[in-house]
Subunit: 308 residues, 3 copies
Amino acid sequence: MKFSLKDIISIKDFTIKDINYILKESEKMEPVARSQELNQDMLGKILGMMFFEPSTRTRLSFETAMKRLSGSVVGFDQPSCSSTTKGESLADTARMLASYSDTIVLRHNLEGAARYIADIVDVPVINAGDGAGQHPTQTLLDLYTMKRVFGKIKNLNVAIMGDLKYGRTVHSLSHALAMFGTNMNFVSPKELRMPPEIIHDLNQQGVVASETENIYDILDEVDIIYVTRIQKERFLDYEDYLKIKGAYILNEEMLRGKDLIVMHPLPRVDEISIDLDYTKYEQYFQQAFNGVPVRMALLEVLIKKNKL
Amino acid sequence: MKFSLKDIISIKDFTIKDINYILKESEKMEPVARSQELNQDMLGKILGMMFFEPSTRTRLSFETAMKRLSGSVVGFDQPSCSSTTKGESLADTARMLASYSDTIVLRHNLEGAARYIADIVDVPVINAGDGAGQHPTQTLLDLYTMKRVFGKIKNLNVAIMGDLKYGRTVHSLSHALAMFGTNMNFVSPKELRMPPEIIHDLNQQGVVASETENIYDILDEVDIIYVTRIQKERFLDYEDYLKIKGAYILNEEMLRGKDLIVMHPLPRVDEISIDLDYTKYEQYFQQAFNGVPVRMALLEVLIKKNKL
Amino acid sequence: MKFSLKDIISIKDFTIKDINYILKESEKMEPVARSQELNQDMLGKILGMMFFEPSTRTRLSFETAMKRLSGSVVGFDQPSCSSTTKGESLADTARMLASYSDTIVLRHNLEGAARYIADIVDVPVINAGDGAGQHPTQTLLDLYTMKRVFGKIKNLNVAIMGDLKYGRTVHSLSHALAMFGTNMNFVSPKELRMPPEIIHDLNQQGVVASETENIYDILDEVDIIYVTRIQKERFLDYEDYLKIKGAYILNEEMLRGKDLIVMHPLPRVDEISIDLDYTKYEQYFQQAFNGVPVRMALLEVLIKKNKL
């Protein structure tokens, strides 16, 4: 089998072979995701959606992926619509929904929730973000976006900028990039540096990442700037936030003449100026779209064995 | 091409030919809307629903239209479910959803929102009501209801009754009726008369409409009474409201012996007595149903060129 | 015709023949409910969902039933999403949704709401719970669960335990079991005994049910223990509640060596210990799943005559 996983819980469960398999299958899904080809692989199949936290983009792209494949979705997208408000346990709710569906897509505020559910139910579980934990499908679509533009991931130069301390997305991403031997540059205010344990992990994987507070230090070297938002709540002193804020907003002038692309997991607030929206640098809208073919590929490989 | 529009933003964008095309196609859709015929034109297609204001009837009839055509719906029906709550711009949300879907149906509290989005995204945009602005699909289903009963729209005598000052629906409708050369009679309390600029527009279109405060003045002449609700909030003095209220409630006794139909965009509160519900006058429930074939016709013409 | 009803309002409307017909058809639906067989009977058909009260399990199992049959769902799952918030009457909302769909599934807080709506609209109405009234599809899936395990319902020994005074579910169930000549044992604190009028009805049906406060009295005799929750709000004196609570919680030790199954309409809070979850006694998760094939059978028989 070209794919080893029954559940999608953490990017750390993936082998390089698993990731490459998904990236290859995602590419085949693009014409279906773009509504240029009809695919009925999921006829009669049901995706069980358990979203205990709202997440428009993740939820809608999973729904879109399932429906483009002619499948259906049941479930809830906010805790108030679930019977946990009546005191039901997460395990009982999951067992119920699993018995109605062919896969569970779970978003939860508690780290570890997805693994816990995967151990309980029989159908495949996909982690759509569990608190400070993992969000593996985001990482896969990030990798797919890079591969799609550059034809490879290995040996790319990637700057990761913004909140590197609390950003779940960038922790998973840096782990995955290290698997491919990508060169990484971390750009953040000193208050929000990549945590030492992540740096340590990367070193273990044989990767040495540079760190800087100044994006200009590495602008000439990178193929990709991956931007994330800096939330003012992360600063004890609001003055400190105001001082650094401007240095982490990308605009067209900064990038003029550079040969690179800009990515962002979205939603953005103001960390990417809209003057980049219609330039060659923009890949963040494409990246949002890429969530659809990547999630289609995952649904296919997880539900396929049971295909009618 | 028999239909000139890429987006459905305002009834003022329509030519007579465009409107007639939609009315003719709507008729063909009736057996599908009634579930007497299976139509799979929208297999694999997705309607992207962006409802920043609740609107049961409009939302459900669009959903029904898409699903009767074997298509799917993704999106949100209240702002709390959208990522704008995380500070995302309307433009970014629309770009995202557009990349997941084959058409966007937008309802927004701000006038002009639909046109703004249509300029940004590549897929067709349908305005499902933007604040005090337009609600063109309501006007089309109103026209379809008239055509369906009388076989024509030209030369009908239509009374439009209720809140003519603030009623978005009746402004669009009167514009469209004028295109067909319909005779109009405006019936309202003086506080809620049709605005002078609308009257001026109608005159420009060659239509002279009568105005009265008394429905009995025109009961013998009209083919249709189009009723809208009068909201007490529109009156500075609650006593003024109480004084006029009764004169704008239709009941069976008032209409006895008359040869006319009653329409209403719904929901009604008490402006049409329920004793009219099972009479020959009632066309408001039929009108609500008519929203389905009309919206099916629109989805067909907008998405058709990309049909698989 | 093997099935006599146009609407599913109360289990009291069913003949034994009707119930047996549904149970037999439910069995045929199992492979489709389990996603082992594709069934497209509901292509182009729409279930209109009107849920004025939240109810995850009931809502999701109806949605799953319709979607496994290749049909679609439109509607709302909380009153805030309906136009009744704009003052529209229940009757008007129902008429609108009925004109968009092939069947209405209604959940409402007022007893009698389902019958009221069934008299107004043309499409079949399914009562998914109306206040203190009926919840007939729950009763059918309870019966199906018993039949599935024991191959029969007649002559089973069933203990019904918990809140027998206010529990809508157990009132309907006991009525239906009496039709089959099942032996019943009621187990409850004296404050929550089965109401005398229900006992009277059962006697009329020729059934004599035993009553006890102590589950141990009947543990050796019963094939099934049907558990429901005891809510502390039912007790005037919280001390009284604490005194009896423990006696109505089932656990593995209590059942050791017994030959019986445990059922529960779910959600449970703590009235069934989780140490029963992976034992031979557990039928409550199976019972939750059984809601899907039973509701598929109902949708089939109600919509079938109009099948395309």
